[in-house]
């Protein structure tokens, strides 16, 4: 075929350009360490890299969550350990106060210590996590969950919220425990009561109900599981008009006590169920207070009823009998509290184990994902360098032959 001189040059230049392009590309790959310089180089690989990057990013976030979950759980475990120690000390005190030769002064000093233990316990229950959040605060964890009511009892004012943390794509663990499940839901030795003012009460300052005492266990057992509510009626419901209340069952509004005159500050005894409570303050008409039978007793109530018993024991044979019955109940309740605490701590321990296991899985994942990404994206240096030297050789050869071929001209011979 005829070849025009122009073509000779332009073909040669084009070939040189191509060879140069190859060399530059390989050089770029080598300097960046990446096989894929843009999605067009390997469309499937590029999208895999994007997905792997996302997974790696997620994996590292899970690793952070694992660290956070672990420190939080360890903190909780530490607090619970302190709580267990208090339980044990209170149990010792309970056994000590069973000693018949204790004087009133001895009992008072035990009561004194118990009060400070109760405060300490409350303090632990209101522990914060160092970021101003209450450990056992449920969802409303910006305010202290355990509050002392004016009557002295400790109430849980937060909710049953439990926050979950995602620590891997398939594992979500509870990062917190709410105070109700840890301190309030403790099995009691027998049926007992828990009291509560209705959230709809209108008196201001709010009237409140004491934690109350069970005066006749047999009657309460027969009454359970029915609950009661004490409702304050219009003053004209009694003659002469004055403050008065009625007591109803909660499930079907069956009256137990109707329009009973109320002396402020005096104890309200509900004969039918063997329960005695006090309403303090000035309840408004329509205010309701619940006295619920329960087979659970908050550990604070256990301590408080114990203190109450210590301070109010009468030195009569019946008094001593009541006192020793109270002691038995207290010890049984403390045992339950310890068991409950053990359960919570076991659960925390189990979660810590899960966290540990997950950490190992995440670390493995990271290695596997990084390797996968590297396989798709990273350059095989040995191959790249051998490619480069070959391509440079081709370029050099092209340059040399170009000058040779174009150097030939018949005009030189004229």
């Amino acid at each position: 075929m005829r070849i025009s001189t122009q073509m000779l040059y332009s073909n040669g230049i084009a070939n040189l350009g191509n060879a140069q392009q190859e060399v530059t590309r390989t050089q770029q790959q080598i300097s960046s360490g990446k096989k894929i310089l843009s999605p067009a180089d390997d469309p499937v690989g590029a999208s895999r890299v994007l997905r792997l990057n996302q997974e790696l990013e997620q994996n590292s976030q899970f690793q952070k969550n694992v660290d956070l979950a672990q420190s939080r759980l360890e903190l909780e475990d530490g607090v619970l350990e302190g709580v267990t120690e208090i339980y044990q000390r209170v149990r010792e005190l309970a056994i000590q106060s069973g000693d018949g030769i204790l004087s009133a002064a001895d009992r008072n000093s035990i009561a004194q210590e118990l009060r400070s233990r109760l405060d300490q316990l409350k303090g632990l229950a209101n522990s914060t996590d160092g970021r101003g959040e209450y450990l056992f605060g449920g969802f409303q964890n910006k305010q202290a969950p355990f509050e002392q009511t004016p009557s002295g009892s400790v109430e849980y004012t937060s909710d049953e919220g439990r926050r979950f943390i995602q620590i891997s794509s398939s594992v979500t663990i509870a990062g917190t425990d709410n105070g109700k499940s840890v301190f309030m839901d403790v099995d009691s030795a027998g049926n007992t009561i828990c009291t509560e003012g209705s959230k709809g009460n209108t008196s201001s300052p709010p009237a409140f109900i004491t934690i109350g005492q069970v005066t006749d266990q047999a009657k309460l057992d027969a009454f359970a599981p029915e609950d009661m509510k004490i409702v304050f009626n219009d003053v004209n419901s009694v003659a002469p008009p004055g403050p008065n209340y009625s007591v109803y069952t909660v499930s079907d509004d069956r009256p137990i006590v109707t329009a009973q005159p109320y002396t402020p500050g005096a104890a309200i005894s509900i004969e039918a169920s063997g329960v005695q409570v006090e309403i303090q303050g000035a309840p408004a008409v329509g205010d309701a207070f619940f006295v619920r039978t329960s087979d659970k007793q908050p550990v604070f109530d256990t301590l408080e009823r114990f203190i109450d018993g210590l301070e109010n024991v009468s030195d009569t044979p019946e008094g001593r009998e009541t006192f020793s019955a109270m002691l038995d109940t207290t010890i049984a309740n403390l045992d339950n509290a310890e068991t409950a605490m053990l359960e919570v701590r076991t659960e925390v321990g189990a979660r810590l184990n899960t966290v540990e296991d997950t950490r190992a899985v995440l670390e493995d994942n990271e290695i596997i994902l990084t390797e996968l990404r590297s396989k798709v994206e990273d350059l095989d240096y040995a191959k790249a360098i051998s490619d480069l030297s070959f391509q440079s050789f081709v370029l050099q050869a092209a340059q040399q032959t170009f000058s040779r071929v174009t150097g030939l001209s018949l005009f030189d011979q004229l």
Binding site: M7, S38, L50, E57, K199, P225, F290, R292
Partner: protein, 907 residues
């Protein structure tokens, strides 16, 4: 003789002089672009007859031939067009490809960072720094989309600019070709038919240049002029006159340029017919790459905004409010209108309002749609794919506006206006997706990471049942888009609810506004069945579920008392319920297709429990039955006797009926409360699901599974005892005396899934059009375990629950969910597929460009082999012609010598 030899020599000298000049010209133009090598054509001069025969009289140059090949020229032109088209597509694609290759500009890392920040916030939802970080990462995500959008928009406008300048170039070239045509004709005329080689070269150059702009078809005329056609035979150059093309605003889409060809104001649109060349490449790039890329990313942006907004609005902020919009509302009035462009040529007045609402991002496609009102009816229309023109659907709007057309996850809403045949609209559901993306939340307090409801178990619960934390399904009615009644007042659940267990298998849900005195809801949720051991879902998750109560005339009517029968086993009375056929219809919410389910035939005197069981055989129906009978005005006649209240209930599965007698002899010891306790304590009654309640003066008997409740008073009529009976269907109390017996049937509550309707054949059980109420509360929770009688669970607004991260977890759940397009890709997956498709397109364009350019090189090579100058060849020719010239000069010299010799001889 000598004279003619001289002439021969002279003709040879002259001819070779010309040949040398042609060769010289070839050498001189060795590097001139578009130059075609020329060759001097030698011919012998005519012979003269002599005695010796015909004797040649020398040589002459007859023509200077231009050495080319029109077939190869055509080949080069078409290869030029192809290569230029693919080249410009590849060049533009590389820009997008490089944009996506840069990890600093990609969407993917920004998405990962956004969800990473959300993870941190979920771990500590009330932390302000964590929320701040989430806000700034959200901003970054929006910025990334904006950045890419800016680059795509910039590219789009540079494509438009290029199209305009290409159009100008084409017109300039067309005019120049026409002009050259004219010059060639006149030059040929002046040179009596000789070809003006330089002009021919110039014209071929112009035509080749034109071929880089657009694909052309060249047809020669007899007089040597060339006609040039583009598209499907539109003449651009005819002889010495040319048409022009213009780039003008598209009537369908004013944002896009179209190409038209014509002369003197009469133009025809030929955008789709333009192929090849840079102009064709730019149009193809715009249509096949740029617009789909904008649509693709737009759909991703819409999906993200839609899902995140939806979930965020169901959360609770640090100010106890529902979350607001997180990103711009994808269905704001402005966004919905921006998706539709009315054709500029639509008949006046320009009053049509059409908008597009995005309904389901998982059905959303990235294509554009063209709607044409085709007639003959005023509102007959056809929907086409705007790019391919393929018909998607034909429909008629039915004449009433507003009208709605649901298609591919969107609702095209024809709001108002004088729609008429000839109207055209362009629908671009996803085009404005990225530009519409913007962050709306701007305060850390406004981030809704908590869920707005919380559940609690009552402190004194004795059973082992637990309630789940609850989850939001949606806080707005999908029918009206208004807040559901439960969430209509800010920062509270109206009413708060309490779930109370009547026994371990029955619960009721009550209004807990006053915890001291919970009230039934309207419609009531009483006598709900609870199955211990499994998870019992409390509320419907179906936003369109409705509740229907049996409202027939038979329901709950106490039958007139009969004489008491004391047979063993006890005789059962009929509840008097009329026979009925219940027909059930389902309307598929997506397709609108009506399904008719088998009818439920209710024989006369069926119990509510049996009717419920029959209804439950139809999928999508959840029927529950219960019976409620009130006994009041317990009147002890005063006459001594041993009366008893006798309650008779049918047995289960063919077991004989069971009767229980509670003493009614002593008005004090046998108070209604005592009777209730006695009934509740009876194992037989308990096993049949009978619950008695008493507030001390009245007695309420309930069957939790809708059995008939039959009550009688024993004792002689003379005892004078009586009790009054009331029930749902009997407002006026029915008096029951000694030795009498009466029965009442149960009531039915039915929850119907979306689209199901139920009607009675008469008025006995269900009326033909029973009233419906929504059963959707917007949230769900479940209770599992074994509850005890009296156990209660409350559901309230999650006030101050700032430690709650449930909504943050729900938002995080969006990362893995498949929400983008019919492929149900995850956000990141959709982006990865997009990157991969651009990568593949670029890759393909690179390969095509290489192939096209090598084809072009080959065909150019072949043409060059004919038309190009080879200097060696020319050098050889120089030698050849020079020698011939020398030889001819010698002939002249010989002729002179001959003449001299002759003169010498004479001298």
């Amino acid at each position: 003789m000598a004279g003619s030899l001289l002439n021969i020599g002279l003709s040879g000298v002259l001819a070779h002089q010309t040949a040398l000049r042609v060769t010289g010209n070839n050498v001189a133009n060795a590097n001139t672009e578009g130059y075609t090598r020329q060759r001097a054509e030698f011919d012998q001069l005519g012979g003269q007859f002599t005695g010796a025969g015909y004797l040649g009289s020398g040589a002459q140059i007859t023509d200077i031939q231009r050495l080319t090949d029109s077939y190869l020229q055509t080949q080069v032109r078409s290869d030029t067009s192809v290569s230029a088209e693919i080249g410009i597509v590849a060049e533009n694609l590389e820009q997008i490809n490089n944009l996506l290759a840069d990890p600093r500009t990609g969407i993917s890392p920004a998405l990962s960072d956004f969800f990473g920040a959300l993870q941190i916030a979920a771990e500590d939802p009330s932390s302000v720094p964590a929320r701040q970080e989430l806000l700034s990462q959200s901003n970054r995500l929006v910025d990334r989309f904006r950045l890419i959008n800016d680059r795509l928009t910039a590219q789009s406008s540079s494509v438009e600019t290029s199209i305009r300048s290409q159009v100008e170039d084409v017109n300039g070239l067309a005019a120049a070709i026409a002009e050259t045509n004219r010059s060639i004709v006149s030059a040929k005329g002046a040179a009596s038919g000789s070809q003006p080689n330089d002009l021919l070269d110039k014209r071929d150059m112009l035509i080749k240049e034109l071929a880089t702009k657009v694909s052309i078809n060249v047809i020669p005329q007899d007089d040597g002029q060339l006609n040039v056609f583009i598209g499907k035979g539109q003449a651009l150059v005819m002889g010495s006159s040319s048409s022009s093309i213009v780039a003008r605003k598209n009537e369908d889409d004013p944002n896009s340029l179209e190409i038209a060809i014509g002369k003197e104001g009469r133009f025809v649109q030929i955008t789709r017919e333009i192929t090849g060349g840079e102009l064709g490449g730019l149009i193809r790039f715009r249509e096949a790459v740029l617009e789909p890329a904008q649509n693709n990313l737009g759909r991703l942006a819409i999906s993200i905004a839609d899902r995140v907004n939806d979930q965020h609005q169901q959360g609770m902020t640090l100010e106890n409010q529902f979350g607001g919009l997180y990103f711009n509302d994808v269905n704001s009035e402005e966004a919905m209108l921006a998706r539709v462009v009315g054709n500029a040529a639509n008949a006046q007045p320009n009053d049509r309002i059409v908008s597009v609402r995005i309904e389901d991002t998982t059905a959303l496609k990235t294509r554009d749609y063209a709607i044409e009102f085709t007639g003959p009816g005023r509102d007959d229309l056809v929907v086409k794919d705007a790019t391919t023109g393929a018909t998607i659907t034909r429909t008629s709007l039915g004449g009433l506006y507003p009208a709605k057309l649901e298609l591919d996850g969107m609702a095209i809403q024809f709001e108002s206006g004088s729609f008429q045949p000839g109207d055209r609209f362009l629908i671009q559901p996803t085009r404005s997706g990225i530009s519409g993306l913007g962050l709306v939340v701007d305060r850390v307090e406004d981030l809704a990471l908590a869920a707005p409801i919380r559940t609690e178990s009552q402190k004194s619960n004795t059973g082992s049942a637990t309630i789940s934390q609850g989850s939001m399904v949606g806080n707005r009615s999908l029918n009206t888009n208004e807040l559901l009644p439960g969430f209509a007042s800010p920062a509270e659940l109206t009413p708060p609810l309490v779930v109370r267990f009547l026994n371990e298998t029955t619960y009721e849900v009550l209004d807990n506004s006053d915890p001291a005195n919970p009230q039934p809801l309207s419609p009531p949720l009483s006598n709900q069945r609870y199955v211990p051991g499994i998870r019992n879902e409390l509320f419907s998750s179906d936003p369109f579920a409705v509740q229907v109560a049996a409202d027939g005339t038979s329901i709950g009517v106490i039958q007139p008392p009969q004489a008491l029968s004391l047979t063993t086993p006890p005789a059962l009375l009929n509840n008097g319920y009329g026979a009925q056929t219940i027909s059930i219809e389902g309307r598929n919410p997506e397709t609108g297709a009506i399904t008719t389910f088998p009818t439920v035939n209710v024989p006369a005197n069926s119990t509510a429990g049996n009717i419920a069981a029959a209804l439950n055989g139809t999928p999508g129906i959840k029927a529950s039955a219960f019976t409620d009978l009130q006994l009041s005005n317990f009147n002890d006649g005063g006459t001594p006797g041993s009366a008893a209240l006798r309650v008779t209930i049918a047995g289960t599965n063919g077991q004989p009926p069971y009767s229980f007698e509670a003493s009614f002899a002593d008005p004090v010891a046998d108070s209604p409360a005592a009777i209730a306790d006695a009934i509740n304590a009876d194992e037989g009654m308990k096993s049949l699901g009978i619950v008695a309640l008493s507030d001390g003066t009245s007695l309420s008997l309930r069957s939790t599974d809708g059995r008939n409740i039959q009550v009688g008073l024993t004792g002689a009529a003379a005892d004078g005892d009586s009790v009054q009976l009331t029930s749902a269907g009997t407002a006026v109390p029915q008096t029951l005396n000694n030795n009498e017996e009466a029965v009442v049937g149960g009531q039915l509550d039915v929850v119907l899934e979306d689209g199901l309707r139920l009607r009675g054949s008469n008025n006995a059980i269900f009326t033909p059009t029973p009233a419906t109420e929504t059963a959707f509360r917007g949230f769900m929770t479940s209770i599992s375990g074994t509850p005890a009688k009296g156990d209660a669970f409350t559901i309230a607004y999650n006030s101050d629950g700032f430690g709650d991260n449930r909504n943050a977890l729900a938002l995080l759940g969006l990362e893995a969910g498949g929400f983008v397009g019919p492929g149900k890709d995850s956000f990141n997956g959709a982006y990865a597929s997009f990157v991969s498709s651009i990568g593949a397109q670029t890759n393909e364009a690179r390969a095509d460009a290489e192939a096209a350019s090598s084809l072009l090189t080959q065909s150019e090579g072949r043409l060059d082999a004919v038309a190009g100058v080879n200097l060696d060849e020319e050098a050889a020719k120089l030698i050849q012609f020079q020698q011939a010239y020398n030889a001819n000069a010698q002939i002249v010299s010989v002729a002179r010598e001959l003449f001299d010799t002759l003169l010498g001889a004479v001298r």
